[in-house]
């Protein structure tokens, strides 16, 4: 890849607008995510963070504006085409498949890297079996990364919320994406579990993945994010490195209601 391509942001949002009837969920937001970074997406409830992730993954199409990934426009693309480009995600309200074991969930996430045609797999050709076994090993290794391999054969819906979140991360990693979108990956987790997620995110980044994560815990944002984008009412409040963003008076007002209350944000860290 040329230097120019490398220095260009991996993901660019250009005045993205999304309205639902009369509600403006995202109101002309622009930001960029650098290749190889952990980018925090933060903002109060209802700020439009999940909507942004839905727009990037093609579940919604923007009312106007542009979303570019490696220079390609995503606005009109179907979700499966966007996944094929190398963007996968997790969900704020865990959406695992009912009736599937933990391993099956992650295998499903490996659909794009299965290395074998659906028909060959139906016929059960030796090459298809070998590819299946390789994919299975890959899925198990991903489960090991999130410390869930010992639960591989259990029904995912019988596990705890935190465990399900980790399975979702493994599932999203199945297709070896370039950009991973995590929607509140640490929600409902204690400090120790949340820190483990933060460390995992760093390991993944060091292995070349770019991560955009919605995170409400400011401590985690300052500790684990390289950059961040702060939104409120679907608009950009601040973007840049986390410490500077969180010190921004507009950001503090959005979170705490008063510009002067600077001490409390310190206390939260």
């Amino acid at each position: 890849m040329s230097d120019a391509a490398l220095s260009r942001p991996l993901l660019e949002l250009d005045t993205v607008v999304k309205t639902f009837g009369g509600v403006t969920a995202v109101g002309g937001l622009s930001t960029r995510v650098t290749r190889g970074s952990v980018h925090g997406l933060i903002g109060p409830n209802g700020a439009g963070k999940t909507t942004l992730i839905n727009l990037i993954t093609g579940l919604f199409h923007p009312t106007s504006g542009a979303i570019r990934f490696e220079g390609r426009s995503l606005e009109a693309m179907q979700p499966q085409a966007i996944a094929t480009l190398g963007i996968t995600r997790t969900y704020q309200n865990v959406r695992l498949f009912s009736g599937m074991t933990v391993l099956e969930q992650v295998m499903t996430g490996c659909w794009l890297t299965r290395e074998v045609g659906v028909f060959a797999s139906f016929l059960g050709l030796p090459s298809a079996r070998a590819a299946w076994v390789r994919t299975r090993e890959h899925a198990l290794s991903l489960l090991a990364r999130v410390s869930m391999d010992h639960r591989a054969d259990e029904l995912a819906e019988t596990l705890s919320y935190g465990e399900q979140r980790r399975i979702e991360i493994a599932r999203a990693l199945g297709s070896r994406p370039k950009l991973l979108l995590l929607d509140e990956p640490t929600a409902g987790m204690n400090h120790q579990e949340a820190t483990a997620i933060g460390r995992l995110v760093h390991e993944l980044r060091d292995a070349g993945l770019t991560i955009l994560m919605v995170e409400h815990n400011m401590g985690l944002v300052t500790e684990f994010c390289d950059d961040c984008t702060v939104v409120n009412f679907g608009r950009l409040l601040a973007t840049g490195d986390p410490a500077t963003c969180l010190a921004d008076p507009d950001v503090q007002e959005a979170y705490f209601g008063r510009k002067t209350d600077a001490e409390r944000i310190q206390a939260l860290r």
């Binding site: 499966q80 996944a83 498949f97 009736g99 499903t108 074998v116 659906v118 797999s121 019988t158």
Partner: protein
Amino acid sequence: METLLDLWAAYGSTIAFAMVNALFALSTYAVLSTGVLSFTTVVFAAVGGFLAAQSVAHLGIGLWPAFALAGIGGAVAGSVVAAAFLKLDSHWMALASLALVLITRVTVLNTPLLTGGVNGLVVPMSVPMGDLVILLALVAAVFWRLHRSWYGLAARAVREDAAVASTMGIPPRGIQFTAFVISGAVGGIGGAALAFTLQFISPETYFIGMAFTMIASTVLGGSFHWFGPIVGAAVFTALPVTMQSVLPAIEDVAKGVVLLVIMIFLPRGLVDPRAVGLRRAARRRVSAEEGTDV
């Protein structure tokens, strides 16, 4: 002796009908297992049935070529239906498929040259029980392979949450299209099997009664594993016969009550792999609690 033979005759035809109904239930399951409720199996069965009946009568082909032709005809019909219907939301889809069943009947009635119209068609071929068993075994083997392949995994994902599946690169419409082609082929083959079992077909053969039977069989047996529809069809076909000998007067009521009871207490059907996993998890929890007590 005579009554014994009568019994065997009744029993034998029940088994044959159970197997034919299993084909229809599997055809319905093919699309239901990707999250689409459709009654179009009836349409595919009509296509396969009349195609097979006419080709054995006029082209002189044998039983198995007729099954193959019926399967191909059904698959073509399935792809046409999929192309037209898959744009619709799921509940409209179900309604549209029902409308298509009505349209099919009118079409069959009004094309007497092809279908015999209101008078129906005598089918100059019958299917031996052994061939029917082989046919069902072959179709079941296809579903077994589908279930254990990448298609099966993708189908389950699409059924449970099509949006999530699509963000993992699985094309929901593509999977559902394939499901319709499979449903069409199996429905067509089932239609031919029914024609060769009844040896007479008319517009009434492929109509609402069949739609009810196949949906009831699938829901009863369970639509989360291919074995469910086969079990469901067996139970649903045997039920009226059993009821008739036990409670002849209230057969329909009893049939309805038994169905309701099963659906209320086993809403996911008789064959449910998920229930096994849930029971295992419950046992694990119990033993974990006992472990901490000690």
